[in-house]
């Protein structure tokens, strides 16, 4: 990746359909696919509206929702629309999220025949009890099959998404899952601590019984052990929840979110950033389709980031990645903040490298605290 492509924008497409809703997920999606054709038409219109503002993308990311829920035919039509409206930089990164349950020969040949070169598989766990708790529609056997098939026939880099910190999950269970994932030598791994959002069925169910969740100490040891094990296996822990086998295998698309590179998000609930303006679409398929039919942008709201907003974001986002923060950001610090920064370094939460302030492993585990303090 050279400097030019690094600054090219990324394109995100939110595919708002799932076969079933997972109780912990708070991303926008629906299970009724009857509006699919209308949505594809609306998406095409939305692309057209942005055709003047965006031209060449360096990354494309099909997320959701569950993109693999759609038929190869529907997905192909979306990709065709995309390439008709925009162009992709040479050596671009094209990711699709997929559910292990959807990995069949048809889908795999579709992946092989399109420019998709990264598949992010929502495995979550290889423990069937955990998968059942998370309300996933696949089991561990299906996950293994999907990974083998993908490796054999997909012709794309593999990313595996895993979740830890599930109530009643032991460290043994988690480490077994992690070891099993490593067996497929995925180019990329995302290991997320389960976040219970109040507006999800899981959040409602747990309510105030948060004691069922893992405690802070346990979450800390999950986090640290995961990081240690994966780095030992040769992965780079480049963001709080993300690991890559090599520098160039990091998610270029996601990194744009973290370093204020412009991105265009299409589809319901998708967010976009250009310059210092960020805007986002309605989280409603109906509204999305209706607005576009009237040639209106389905934008719910937007914000203009002033220098202070940008600085705050650079700091808290930087504290989440191994890129860290430009040391000059701290030149305006008062003595109290400087003292705090020094203590964080002395305490091994941050380190300085090439005039950048970089969080250590323990620092990443405390990124929210660090951001609030600095």
């Amino acid at each position: 990746m050279n400097d030019i492509t690094k600054n090219l924008p990324g394109l995100y497409i939110h595919i708002p359909f799932c076969v079933s809703k997972c109780p912990y997920c708070n991303f926008y999606s629906i299970t009724d696919q009857s509006a699919l054709p209308a949505w594809i038409d609306a998406l095409r219109l939305e692309m057209t509206i942005y055709a003047d503002e965006f031209d060449t993308f360096d990354t494309i990311y099909l997320g959701g929702g569950t993109p693999s829920t759609l038929s190869p035919k529907a997905l192909s039509s979306i990709i065709d629309d995309l390439y008709r409206t925009f162009s992709m930089a040479d050596n671009g990164e094209f990711t699709m999220e997929a559910n292990p349950g959807d990995m069949n020969d048809d889908v795999l040949s579709f992946i092989r025949d399109t420019p998709i070169n990264r598949v992010n598989l929502g495995v979550q766990s290889f423990d069937d009890d955990i998968l059942a708790y998370l309300g996933r529609r696949h089991d561990s056997k299906k996950a293994r099959q999907a990974l083998s098939l993908l490796r054999k026939k997909g012709g794309a880099h593999i990313g595996i998404d895993l979740i830890y910190g599930v109530p009643a999950q032991s460290m043994e269970s988690w480490m077994t899952t992690l070891e099993e994932a490593l067996r497929y030598k995925p180019e990329h791994l995302s290991c997320y601590e389960l976040t219970v959002e109040t507006d999800t069925p899981l959040g409602q169910r747990l309510g105030s019984r948060s004691e069922e969740l893992v405690g802070e100490e346990q979450a800390y040891s999950f986090f640290m052990t995961t990081s240690e094990r994966l780095e030992e296996a040769g992965y780079i822990h480049y963001e709080v929840s993300n690991f890559a086998l090599r520098e160039e295998l990091r998610s270029r698309h996601n990194m744009k979110y973290w370093n204020h590179t412009p991105y265009l998000g299409l589809g319901p609930s998708a967010h976009s950033l250009k310059g210092n303006r960020r805007w986002w679409n309605f989280s409603s398929l109906e509204r999305y389709i209706d607005d576009l039919r009237q040639n209106l942008l389905p934008v719910e709201d937007s914000e203009t980031l002033d220098e202070e907003d940008l600085r705050l974001e650079r700091i808290f986002l930087g504290l989440r990645t191994k890129e860290g923060i430009d040391g000059n950001e701290f030149s305006s610090f008062d003595p109290v903040q400087t003292g705090l920064l020094r203590q964080c370094m002395a305490d091994g939460l941050l380190e300085r490298r090439d005039n950048r302030i970089i969080p250590t492993r323990r620092g990443l585990a405390l990124a929210d605290q660090l951001a609030a303090a600095l």
Partner: protein, 598 residues
């Protein structure tokens, strides 16, 4: 003079004093419904919310009685708390009678009793009024019985009323006319007038509120304030209508105001006697005391940028509160601030609240202290009310602290509990009286420092609200004092230093450590909190650090949400004080300040 009545209303908080005053004002037609603002007398926000009158207010109500004559009823409203008992006594000294207001549902309360005794000391005519008779829970019979047994008053002289609905208000007015004697005095004698309050007017300077006992006062006259020994030329006199109403003169029996180009409220002492400079009266009116601050604490702005604003706010506040004192102070932990003197803890609370509310300042108060006396080995005697100035222990020959004589009144059944409280607070030389059956009056000599925190609150809760409390400072007594320091991660938080009795040092240190542990939020680093006397650590607590605090996912849609959350957190942090690398919230300082000693 026969047409004048000077009276005050005594009531427990919430028994409806302000509502009654409002109704009386309305009844006299002074304010019509349109110009009427509810509860005119309690005009300050804090007074309205807390139901506490801080400053005396006065108003003249012209009233046409059923006998056909017009009377001028001067209502002097009084503060209702022990911190201001001197102000109350001066207001009562200006009256010939009082309305004793009792809530028909709640009955006689402690505060009412304390003020009733003050009224009796001044030989005032007492008219019991049973208010809120419209309430479903009203128990008029029961309250009448209490008036007889607990207050020793004739219950059949009571007037029933509902200030809210306006019933009985006219009967009250008539009773004031018929039962309260007109003021005595001689307009021809040399001037003698009592100052019962003073307020600041941005355009005219200090407005002195006074009651004329003898003689006449009018513009152009040269007068002398006898205790302060200052001379002024009267510019204007008048009485209190809803606004000040200019008059030619005030004479014996009148209640009114005077303007005399007096710059500061502090130039006027409540209780002082005004006389004619050329034809003075023989002696000042009795009962003058200098209102001296007895409780001291430092005030710091949370953001050091607010120092100038705080300075301006204090200056403005001081204009209207002569008993409040302040001077510059500085703290290593909290920066530039002011050392302030207060009449008591409620006074301190009020000042704090007004600074925060009216001047929109975020402030931190240090632990309050009394004024200690140290005799050094050199023979020199020094007074210290700021722990920061505590002398080097090797130089101290003798430590002394102010003692008070506390007088408490409560139903006899609480005697054991109150005795226990007083003994725990180092009380001695107790004396018990039974002024009426079932009611005990307990006197104790106590160190002032042991009552300034929460003694009154404790007394009230022990006696279920029936305990009254009053005190006089009697003398300085020898005491084994030490300086207790609080350290956070090894750094002394000088604003939390306290001068305490050696025996109480460990307990107080433990309480401070525990309170701080509860109030200081966990941070990225371990926080050690220690209490130390000299170099010795006598108490400690530890706040364990956060180990994991990070959001798992932060993609397109999460960033705005996360930033907004951070902005909120940072705003919250601005209200905290950094000591070394530890953020200490204001609530932590307050928690230590409010230390419960039991």
């Amino acid at each position: 003079m026969v047409s004048i009545r000077n009276f005050s209303i005594i009531a427990h908080i919430d028994h409806g004093k302000s509502t009654l005053a409002d109704r009386m004002i309305q009844l006299t037609g002074l304010a019509d419904d349109r110009t009427f603002r509810d509860q005119i007398l309690d005009s300050m926000d804090i007074e309205r919310e807390r139901g506490i009158t801080i400053k005396s207010q006065a108003i003249t109500l012209p009233y046409r009685s059923k006998d056909g004559n017009i009377y001028y009823l001067n209502l002097i409203d009084t503060p209702g708390h022990v911190d201001f008992s001197y102000e109350v006594s001066r207001a009562l000294a200006s009256c010939e009678g009082v309305l004793l207001l009792v809530d028909a549902a709640q009955g006689v309360q402690a505060q009412t009793v304390a003020n009733l005794y003050l009224a009796m000391e001044h030989d005032l005519e007492v008219i019991p009024v049973i208010n809120k008779i419209d309430l479903p829970a009203a128990d008029v019979e029961g309250v009448m019985e209490q008036i007889e047994t607990e207050l020793g008053l004739d219950p059949f002289t009571s007037i029933l009323c509902s200030a809210k609905e306006g019933t009985g208000v006219e009967d009250i007015m008539e009773a004031i006319v018929r039962r309260i004697p007109p003021p005595k005095g001689d307009a021809g004698k040399p001037l003698s007038a009592l100052i019962f309050d003073a307020q600041y007017d941005a355009f005219r300077g200090t407005v002195a509120h006074c009651r004329i006992f003898d003689g006449t006062i009018k513009p152009g006259q040269t007068v002398r304030f006898m205790h302060n020994n200052t001379i002024y030329r009267i510019e204007e006199v008048g009485r209190f209508s809803l606004v000040r109403e200019k008059k030619d003169k005030l004479e014996a029996g009148d209640v009114g105001y005077l303007l005399a180009g007096i710059k500061n409220v502090s130039d006027v002492s409540v209780g002082d006697t005004i006389t004619d400079n050329d034809r003075p009266c023989d002696k000042p009116l009795p009962g003058f005391k200098e209102a001296k601050p007895v409780v001291f604490a430092s005030i710091y702005p949370i953001a050091s940028d607010d120092y100038e604003e705080l300075a301006v706010a204090l200056e403005k506040y001081k204009l209207n509160d002569a008993s409040f004192t302040y001077q510059k102070d500085s703290s290593v932990a909290l920066g530039q601030g002011f050392r302030c003197g207060f009449l008591g803890l409620l006074h301190l609370d009020i000042v704090q609240e007004r600074l925060e509310r009216e001047y929109d300042l975020s402030i931190i108060l240090s632990v309050p202290s009394v004024r200690y006396r140290f005799t050094l080995k050199s023979g020199e005697t020094i007074y210290i009310e700021n722990p920061a100035h505590y002398p080097d222990p090797v130089n101290i020959a003798k430590c002394e602290e102010p003692h008070i004589r506390a007088t408490m009144m409560f139903p006899e059944r609480y005697l054991g509990a109150v005795m226990k409280l007083c003994i725990a607070r180092r009380g001695e030389n107790s004396r018990i009286n039974y002024p009426s059956p079932g009611r005990a009056e307990l006197q104790f000599e106590l160190p002032l420092s042991s009552v300034i925190y929460d003694f009154y609150d404790n007394l009230k809760s022990l006696t279920q609200g029936y305990g009254s409390f009053d005190y006089d400072i009697i003398d300085y007594r020898e005491s084994d004092l030490v300086l207790l320091d609080i350290l956070v991660n090894g750094e002394k938080v000088d604003a939390l230093s306290q001068i305490v009795h050696r025996k109480q040092a460990r307990e107080r240190a433990l309480i401070a450590c525990e309170r701080l542990k509860e109030e200081i939020p966990r941070q990225m680093f371990k926080i050690a909190i220690q209490g130390a006397v000299g170099g010795e650590i006598i108490a400690r607590s530890t706040i364990s650090p956060f180990r994991k605090d990070v959001t798992a996912k932060c993609y397109g849609g999460d960033i705005t949400r996360k930033r907004k959350l951070l902005e909120k957190q940072k705003k919250g942090k601005k209200r905290m004080k950094m000591v070394g690398s530890v953020s200490i919230p204001q609530s932590a300082f307050v928690a230590v300040l409010k230390s419960d000693q039991d």
